[in-house]
Symmetry: C2
Amino acid sequence: MKHVSIKDIAKELSIAHSTVSRALNDKYDIKKETREKVLKKAEEMGYYPNPMAKKLKENKSFNIGVVVPEFRNAFFPDVILGIQDVLLSKGYQILIMQSNEDPIIEESNIRTLHENMVDGLIISLTADSHNVSFLKNLSNKNFPIVQFNRVSDKLETSKVVFDDYTWASFATEHLIKQGYKKILHFAASQDIALCKYREKGFINALKRHKLPCNKEQIVPSGLTIEDGKKAMEKVLESNMDFDAIFAVTDPTALGAMMVLKQHKIEIPERVGVVGFSESRLSQVIEPSLTSVKQPTFEMGQAAANLIIQEIETEVKVPQVMTLGGNFKVGKSSVRL
Amino acid sequence: MKHVSIKDIAKELSIAHSTVSRALNDKYDIKKETREKVLKKAEEMGYYPNPMAKKLKENKSFNIGVVVPEFRNAFFPDVILGIQDVLLSKGYQILIMQSNEDPIIEESNIRTLHENMVDGLIISLTADSHNVSFLKNLSNKNFPIVQFNRVSDKLETSKVVFDDYTWASFATEHLIKQGYKKILHFAASQDIALCKYREKGFINALKRHKLPCNKEQIVPSGLTIEDGKKAMEKVLESNMDFDAIFAVTDPTALGAMMVLKQHKIEIPERVGVVGFSESRLSQVIEPSLTSVKQPTFEMGQAAANLIIQEIETEVKVPQVMTLGGNFKVGKSSVRL
DNA sequence: CTGAAAGCGCTAACAC
DNA sequence: GTGTTAGCGCTTTCAG
């Protein structure tokens, strides 16, 4: 397990270690023969550069930190695949950490990554990241940060977001066109920009179609299956009148569906349901869930490209990339 | 974004940088006042140690590599949470990489991690890791490796496994007790030890209960939903006689269920289904899937503890930890 | 074209 | 107690 160093090769060949370095890095000032001799020896001795030394020297870790709230749903793993796709090919490693939807852990993740000298940070915030002062601090010190998906308006960095407003509007219109008239929106924290925009898109669609749109129709819930269940139960208890639900996320929609099914309320006959951001669960549930599909892989690629750009060009002009998606019609929203 | 170093503090205080080092590391030979002065200054200047330097010096990265086949199902993310739980508290970072069930990517992951000088590797093999020579090579060089879940008999390292044999037996017996008589096993590659043991457990249970057990009952499929679907379709085409399925994993079981439902074959009335290693999808499908539940978090903790032990004690006596689980009865296997 | 030497930030012998 | 020095593995001047 002893690591062979550049010096070992030099000693073996009775030349200077700096010459070996040059040979390996294929710099100009080197005779072909020497170079080949060195390369052969290096191969032979199983040499590979000690990354720590290189990193220390260049004051760069070639590591990018990635912080996500969770990776139990398919969404973040898919984004990470996209990030990897770009970063690995450019010689960067990624350190993945998850905050478990806890702002305290999130901050400690960020701190750990920063202290480990990652060259940049790609982050999707927890649902309750009210306080972004720590991140803001880093960002002000010119530390490269790219936010994606769950971004904060209070933090000016490059961002990759989805056009939530337009697609939420589109999803709501789909329900309207199917003939649903009293549509509820299961919403989540307004601190997360995407939730705010999905809600706005919903309201906008109703208004455009001159449908009633009052406060009770916005049902506070959250991003998880549990949140969806609870909200649905409350709505049923309240005897509110409704015939469709547009949920802020798929898990929320699934939770709602599970409760509706328990109460023998037929989907889509009596209540139509539309989710957002297709999760794998939505393939399995019956009826299959209509949902907006986001380009997760591409989102990861975009975030990775932005961070590379910030790191390698040192220019900091925050860019916001807005991606589009597509709409996947399932059975949960289509009356026969 | 300039990193303040130990020397900067030393200069500021007009003392030697080694003194600063001592103060920060709280070694004996240091006067209290000096120490406090240094600590205060360090705080003031926003000092934190450059991990690269420490790592270079100590020839240790405090990074542990984690390679998993995928993290789209809940299983591996949950294990990783357990790994993090132990490792973060001991000052280690984890580098997560995923092989996407591809042995080529897997080997390149391992290589990347090794070249980045991780202090050890925690790995769950891909379904087709026939060739473990690269890993064996590393292991022989005393590089700490811990396998978990999908382990190879050809590779002698510490391992954390589940008692697949016993629990597969138990799951099969459950079906037998429910009155099912012609039970199929949807199996996967025998190269993965856990698949082999689940199959053996299945066969054993049938024999113990004197039920027929011939080759056709072992249906070659795989570990994914797709594999389950395909296998189910083949079985239906073949007009084989059967009344229950014990699938090697939950996704496999789910795939089978989806096809059964398409064919309007009632579960559990006409066909009972049992899976293995509860995935979140099994909560959502109807009827809910009976399944063996593995202690994922504990599995991660165990693997982490083993790797720490190998790294910090330098003793290499491969240990095999076998964990137990529990059985979650759903509706897919219980006739009314 | 190649060797010698400095230095990245830190720790740890060894002096004083 | 504290300062001096060497060295971890590497890259990069600067001589020659």
